[in-house]
């Protein structure tokens, strides 16, 4: 071979290699937990020309066709229909739907009805927060962020807190659940909320039982706080992780507040505070569209909520970016205190310990959640002791012609909006839902991106990415959309590395033993 020919071949090979390199660098990594019981999520990580993380997106499966499905149905059916959307928090959808009907028919529920609704709602919050703390967030914090992945599950949590505590949690959950079922009927066909009130009064003997359970719930809350203190807060390693930069974003915060700016899960006005902790806005729920807008990215079907009047300035934090946050951390940041004594004391301790307000550490959500659990239990107790609870004045009949209604509650995972428009017969012409996960979607994406950036460099993907990225989004407990019940496949999480043509060039897989395998 002549030198010239050799040179030409070398050049061709070099060009080919450069193209291959470029193709390799501009690849897309997909982390996709496939077919799990409650749906599945997916993480897409896009790399730039240098092989570093350009952008990362967290995606949840989108329920398709909600608007179309709702159109033409009677508005009265919406609390029943929407409660079927989610197998995890049907009570939140039922309550937001019921409140949207109050607004649609312009009917103010009677005082006893409001109290019954708020009591039931707080019982639900105690139950959900307890399940979350012990079993869902527990794998990261009770078992520990550095524990082997194979132990970071429900059984690992029981191993750490003990079988007796596990039994206590399950028993408490059942007692709370029984009240919701007795009062509110079956989940499939709830017969609880009606426009202007509730369907069923509370009997005096039931009130007595509620008072007993409420007392237990408050004690249970204290017990849970003790576990948080012993297992998490006394462990320097965990506290260091909570306050680490990797899990910190200085965003706006949002929550539903009462007139004293104390969080109220059932009712109030939406309050937003700045990253510096100052009030940015407080508005009636009906004005949500003046404040919340949705940003769409070509890469994702998830709509990213942001503050309309600040504007969308990318996946960034700081006062110039409209990205905001909801759920326990955000609610406590958006508040000036708590409405019940013990919760308020713990609220003050929390901010004292974490360096004042606002707390920007995503992982502090777990701590904030326990404070909220205690608030919900105390509020349950206050309402269970209210003499009006057994009143038979439980409904005010609607008389107005329906047109448009908005109902907002604080779901365990954050602000939940239901918005319906109807014709004069009450037939739905437009329905819009903003779920908590969507409110948090931009910040969740930022957290996933931060974790990915720390772990991927020059196109090199380490095994550790799975655990770190999981932890980044688990703190938000993003709701994966729906009550789809398809059974799990054999692996929950997979990272696919793809070239520009979409061919899979490598696969990282976490198997049932918790270990990560490369294929």
């Amino acid at each position: 071979m002549s030198d010239n020919k050799n040179k030409a071949v070398q050049e061709t090979l070099a060009k080919g290699a450069a193209r291959a390199d470029a193709s390799y660098m501009r690849r897309r990594i997909t982390i996709d937990p496939i077919t799990r019981l409650e749906g599945h999520g997916k993480i897409d990580i896009f790399l730039n020309d240098q092989g570093d993380v350009d952008r990362a997106y967290f995606q949840v499966p989108e329920l398709r066709g909600f608007e179309k499905f709702a159109e033409g149905r009677l508005a009265e059916d919406m609390p029943q229909i929407t409660s079927r959307i989610c197998g995890v928090c049907p009570t939140a959808h039922h309550m937001a739907g019921t409140k949207a009907l109050d607004d649609l028919f312009k009917v103010e529920p009677t005082e006893p009805a409001k109290k019954i609704r708020e009591m039931i709602y707080n019982i639900f919050m105690v139950e959900d927060h307890a399940i979350h703390f012990y079993f869902l967030g527990g794998p990261d914090f009770v078992v520990g962020p550095t524990a082997p992945a194979a132990e970071r599950n429900v059984l690992g949590v029981i191993g750490k807190v003990g079988v007796e505590t596990g039994k206590k949690v399950i028993a408490m959950r059942r007692r709370l659940r029984e009240i919701i079922t007795t009062t509110g009927g079956k989940v499939i066909h709830p017969v609880f909320g009606l426009p202007g009130g509730v369907a069923r009064r509370i009997k005096p003997e039931e009130q007595k039982h509620f008072q007993e359970v409420a007392k237990e719930a408050v004690e249970f809350g204290k017990f849970t706080m003790k576990i948080l203190e012993d297992v998490v807060l006394k462990n320097k390693e965990y506290v260091d992780l909570i306050v680490s930069d990797a899990f910190t974003h200085k965003t706006y915060y949002m929550g539903l507040m009462d007139k004293n700016n104390h969080p109220n899960f059932y009712d109030g006005e939406i309050r937003v505070v700045t990253p510096e902790g100052k009030e940015y806005a407080k508005f009636p729920t009906q004005k949500y569209l003046e404040h919340i807008a949705e940003h769409v990215e070509p890469w994702s079907y998830v709509k990213f909520c942001y503050l309309k009047n600040v504007g969308w300035n990318g996946f960034n934090d700081g006062p110039g970016s409209g990205v905001f946050c909801v759920a326990p951390l955000a609610r406590l940041n958006a508040a000036d205190g708590m409405a019940t004594p013990l919760a308020n004391e713990l609220y003050q301790n929390y901010f004292d310990a974490l360096g004042g307000k606002p707390v920007h550490h995503t992982l502090a959500n777990h701590w904030a959640r326990v404070i909220e659990l205690i608030f919900a239990a105390e509020r349950f107790q206050q309402l269970a002791n209210d003499p009006e609870l057994t009143s038979d004045n439980i409904r005010r009949l609607p008389t107005e012609t329906p047109k448009e209604g908005v109902g907002v509650v604080e779901a365990p995972r954050g602000t939940l909006v239901h918005h319906y428009k109807t014709d004069e017969r009450g037939v739905i012409t437009m329905a819009n839902l903003i779920v908590a996960t969507q409110n948090n979607s931009a910040r969740t994406a930022m957290s996933v991106e931060k974790a990915a950036k720390g772990l991927i460099s020059k196109g090199v993907v380490t095994d550790g990415i799975l655990n770190e990225v999981e932890m980044a989004f688990r703190a938000y407990d993003p709701c994966h959309g729906c009550a789809t019940h398809s059974l799990p496949g054999s692996m929950p999480l997979i990272v696919r590395v793809r070239d520009l043509e979409g061919n899979t060039t490598a696969t990282l897989r976490r198997d049932s033993d918790g270990r990560i395998h490369k294929e």
Partner: protein, 156 residues
Amino acid sequence: MEESTKSDFSTRLLCLGNDILADDAMGLRVAETLRGRLPASVDVVSSMESGLRLLDHLVGVPRVIVIDAVQTGSAPPGTIYVLREEDITYSPGPSGHYIGLFETLALGKKLDLPVAQDVLIIAVEVSDCLTLGGEMTPAVERAIPEVARRVEEMVG
């Protein structure tokens, strides 16, 4: 949720799904088909709940037959699988939201709750569990009578 408080049943047929989410209605449709057709010793329960909330349905009865949708993507829609708990490899999910039937069963056992000793799963391969108000895939719908027949055979 239909509370499963009775304890004099020998078998609980636990039908999972969501009637407004296309193929996910399958389990609930099986319950409708079989209600009233099975021996009195069989407790037919429909549930749209998930995760730990299923625990109440897994205790207080010796045998549970679960009817559920499955999406493996590796078999045609309508394919019926009959599985025992031990046939399925599951793993702790990446989010707490992913706690499923098997973690719930394992938790019940760990806490010494009276969890059913015999758990059988009849799963049907589905293709769409995300379209609200969506139609069932015809092949999934066609599998319903066969699933019902197998249940009748099992509970004899």
